[in-house]
Amino acid sequence: MNLEFSDDQKFVQKTARDFLAERSGLDACRRVLESPEVAFDAELWKGVAEMGWLGAAVPEDLGGAGLGYLELVLIAEEIGRALAPIPFGPSVYLATEALLHFGSADQKRRFLPRLASGDLVGTFALAEGTGDLATSAVQTRFENGRLRGEKLPVLDGGSAGLGVVVARAAGGPVLTLVDLAGPGVTRTPLQSFDPSRPQSRLAFDGAPAEALGPADATDAIRRLLDRAAVMAGFEQLGGATRVLEMTRDYALGRYAFGRPIASFQVIKHRFADLYAAIELARSNGYYAAWALSSGSDELELAACAFRAAASDAFELATREMIQIYGGVGFTWEYDCHLFYRRAKLLAAWLGTPSAWREMLIERLEAREAA
């Protein structure tokens, strides 16, 4: 057993951290958050594309960097740490992954190089306003090459060019590919809980679409979500760790009653508990990353456990952050609420912690029955 990342992988992470520290400070996140007309930081997106991260897991002959998932999750962690205001998750963990795993040779050729270069932004649309992500609940229909129905909320739905849309067809739930700038698509911006990550309503009225993957994509969709959950989990881990560090630094510098508030035992113990929650999530994350990159069938359990743990840890961190910062933590001007919002957004996207916990039990029961 060797639970270290390789030196090469650590180098990728360090490069990512340095790049984002320079190009994606918290002011970059705040700019997008405070500008409703700005969907994402286009300069940063271009820079990230040039670093090769958008195509990290895409084979080189399709325009990617040909790296692996261990590198990708470390990049994701840094993206999360920086609160990078770009459509990285939807485009990389979902749209690109969907094409990589379920695309025909032709579809891969048509879309992957453009996704990898950043010319095309992809997103994923599953939810339909009820909050329920069960594919059996999907009402949007795919018939005769056209989509009819409504998706909301869709992360980056307003700025993405390519939509991977889950719909209902004759054979069961399917994945479809839609040109979101094309005919039959109406996009309405929504008020995102985290305005640095915009969300939209997508209405399809006969929008031309092509099928992606199998006629019954129930399993395919589950696998896609499991994989994305691991990658998104690393963003949450990165965010949580940064919050812990910032809050620690704040508490060391803030004095009350003649000493740093970090020296009060209750505060120390809250920090210890937060540290423990993050470390446990991280450990679940390493297991999930291994399962993801090695193709182990442990992924179906690991993804659930990690996703729930990471969501809870990031949320806890952001609540503790504001509490420890005190009054100023509650101001718009301080950066605490950037993390507070992002944590909740990421926890809601792709399934809440309770949904993943339920999935975990269902899968454990299925294994027991087998």
């Binding site: 057993m1 060797n2 639970l3 270290e4 990342f5 992988q9 261990l70 812990l244 620690r248 508490a251 060391l252 000493r259 740093p260 970090a262 020296s263 035992q265 505060i267 120390k268 113990h269 920090f271 210890a272 508990d273 540290y275 423990a276 470390e279 446990l280 999530a281 991280r282 450990s283 679940n284 390493y286 297991y287 990353a289 291994w290 990159s293 090695s294 659930c304 456990a305 729930a308 743990a309 309770s354 916990r357 339920e358 975990l360 039990i361 454990l364 029961e365 027991e368």
Partner: protein, 415 residues
Amino acid sequence: MDFDDTPQEASFRARARAWLERNAKRRDPDAPGADPLREREDANALRDAKAWQTRKFDEGWACLTWPKEYGGQDLGRMEQVIWNQEEARFDTPANIYSIGHGMLAPTLMTHGTKAQKDRYVREMGRGQVVWCQLFSEPDAGSDLAGLRTSAVRRGDEWVLRGQKIWSTGAHYCDYGMIVTRSDPDAAKHAGLTYFIVDMHAPGIEVRPIRQINGASGFNEVFLNDVRVPDENRLGGVGDGWRVALTTLMNERVAIGAGAGSGRLRELFRLAREARIGGRPAIENHAVRQKLADFYIRTKGLQYTGYRTLSAVSRGATPGPEGSIGKAVGAPLGQEMASFAMELQGAMGALLDPDLAPQEALWQEAYLGAPGLRIAGGTDEILRNIIAERVLGLPPEMRVDKDRPFREIPVGRGAR
């Protein structure tokens, strides 16, 4: 990043398993696991434990991380954990050597003279003699350095007087490692000296303490002018705190051996058997969420232990991060036991092993759980350690530093 055994580890595991298959009986996976705090007190249990240890040691399967010159195999912690995992599948006597082999032997190997190491280490490994730890006192638990048992030098002997408490196994042990106050005029941490003590020496009186679960795993040990030769001193005079820290550091190496997962299996089984509203409890949403949460935290702890193990195997020293294992694990165990009892409804209030579900395993676990949150570093001390040594937060304000020990305030009723 690889959670699978390396080829070397897999080969070791296979050999370990093969030896165990030839020398022990497989454990029934459906029988409830042993509760570590439940001490069996019959003489047969002790004899069986010693015989098993000697057999393992003589055949090269015990104390694997020890140097070969003392009967070990010079292997890494990873191999020891693999061995522990494999042995857990078999029905073997309870381990009475975790303190001796895990904490005291490393202390001896770090601070002992050659003569002391030659005299005691191999014999300790063979298991025919058992060692106990004499650290805590009625007035010195979390504040261990506040201990009062005195050691007064008389020629080439020391005379020890005082009282120790919570000494696991002292009632059947042959030797103990003790920290004493040799200079009450020095500051608290500066006047301590560490000794090896013969538990059969005149003046030592061992009194079992009854725990809330009815067992008597640990004891009070009274020292009434016990004479200890100077050659049994470990480390320099006044250097006892440094030696004690080595012992305590080894406590911190909380390496997961998958112990938690067994409890998960039993909890899930209980959830299938218990009823809520006429249906299996496991169909209840709140129960499912709770079970998932327990699974996630248990696995998180297990993999955190593996991370520490992996780092230590590659040469890192076990750090204070290891405190997470106990800080999270102990309260988690109590929560799981409490929840399990709740699933049993009214039957949860019974201790009859032939009536209470799963032979009252959870009731026993719940009775044992408070001890785990206190022993070996309380939940609170561990949080201080994590906050201070991992996160770099300021230490506690102390009112007893740099003063002669004699002058430090003590509470009402302190000796």
